[in-house]
Symmetry: C3
Subunit: 152 residues, 3 copies
Amino acid sequence: MAIEQRLQERNITLPDVSAPAAAYVPYVQTGNLLFVSGHIAKKDGKPWVGQLGTNMDTATGRQAAESIAIDLLGTLRAACGGDLNRIQRIVKVVSLVNANSSFTEPHLVTNGCSELLMHILGDAGAHARSAYCVSQLPMGSCVEIELVAELR
Amino acid sequence: MAIEQRLQERNITLPDVSAPAAAYVPYVQTGNLLFVSGHIAKKDGKPWVGQLGTNMDTATGRQAAESIAIDLLGTLRAACGGDLNRIQRIVKVVSLVNANSSFTEPHLVTNGCSELLMHILGDAGAHARSAYCVSQLPMGSCVEIELVAELR
Amino acid sequence: MAIEQRLQERNITLPDVSAPAAAYVPYVQTGNLLFVSGHIAKKDGKPWVGQLGTNMDTATGRQAAESIAIDLLGTLRAACGGDLNRIQRIVKVVSLVNANSSFTEPHLVTNGCSELLMHILGDAGAHARSAYCVSQLPMGSCVEIELVAELR
């Protein structure tokens, strides 16, 4: 189980699926496509509050995006009945970076998520992507990321 | 027809599909997936103008999101040839809230749409979702919502 | 080959796929759906920097969106092994316009892309769409557009 080994090498323990903050569900499967809800960055279980270009730098935003990748992998594992090897491919990632109009590095922030997905899942982790800055996010969180995955 | 009954109980009359404001179509079906264009909030047939955190409160934004749900159901009914029971599942909702950088409740605004979809469609209405704040929307509208649905 | 003729009539030469600016791939196919990454506007090979409502007008934004359509067609052609006739349908376009909170015409900017897709691809080019304003984009680019296409 190469995926579980890589998680262990990075000392990553995947969380259970978090209850959504509002009236929706964490993921919906249709055919072999899994649509995963936007996951906001959290720190110590609370929204990781911050705005790039105002009070958070790119390196910290990148860490926040990496922490979302871990939460997304936890949700994916639950959707796969516990076995991440059922992921055929991460198809698409959309990353929303809470930032003011001076911040032009949402792609570098988002790499924190993309690179971890690619590291843990290998070829199955390479995905299409869009990343951009939004004026604010739920509960003031600094980053929100959603994805579409194909399951075996 | 449980769906039609619930619409009647709420005194909701679904509109016909609106002509898009620009060079696109209201929905496209591929396989059994239906991709529905972003619908902006309207009031009395005109764009429902406002910005959360500037000149509109969460409760009003929530009403606007609920009104979009009604328009989306009207579009879905047309895409289903008149029969909403052909909706297998609302797969994914993306909600864009016109807001300044001080407004951290796009998820509560969006609940106005999500809760109506779940109330009218029952289990088929539960969806994956992302909600976030954007700096402006077409014609100054306060909320725009798009969705993906699976048809039978 | 009507598509190639229409490209020639407009003197459009499609580019090769650009290397993504960060840790992702230009497109992923799953079943017969192709998810194409967000493409930012470029001018002379560099990010086309600008913000609508601040230092760029709607007509120029529209040109930028049209230039993205050309880049997207280049990526689609590569994904189709060189033959754009393999596109069954452009399913969905999402357009992100770098704009401040005073700019209410992201739909008109986006028409620059939508109209070219419809002109070049004919009926296969008509798509569902969302367009909205975001607070900033990678490297300061004025517009970013992603799409989903169905292949034969």
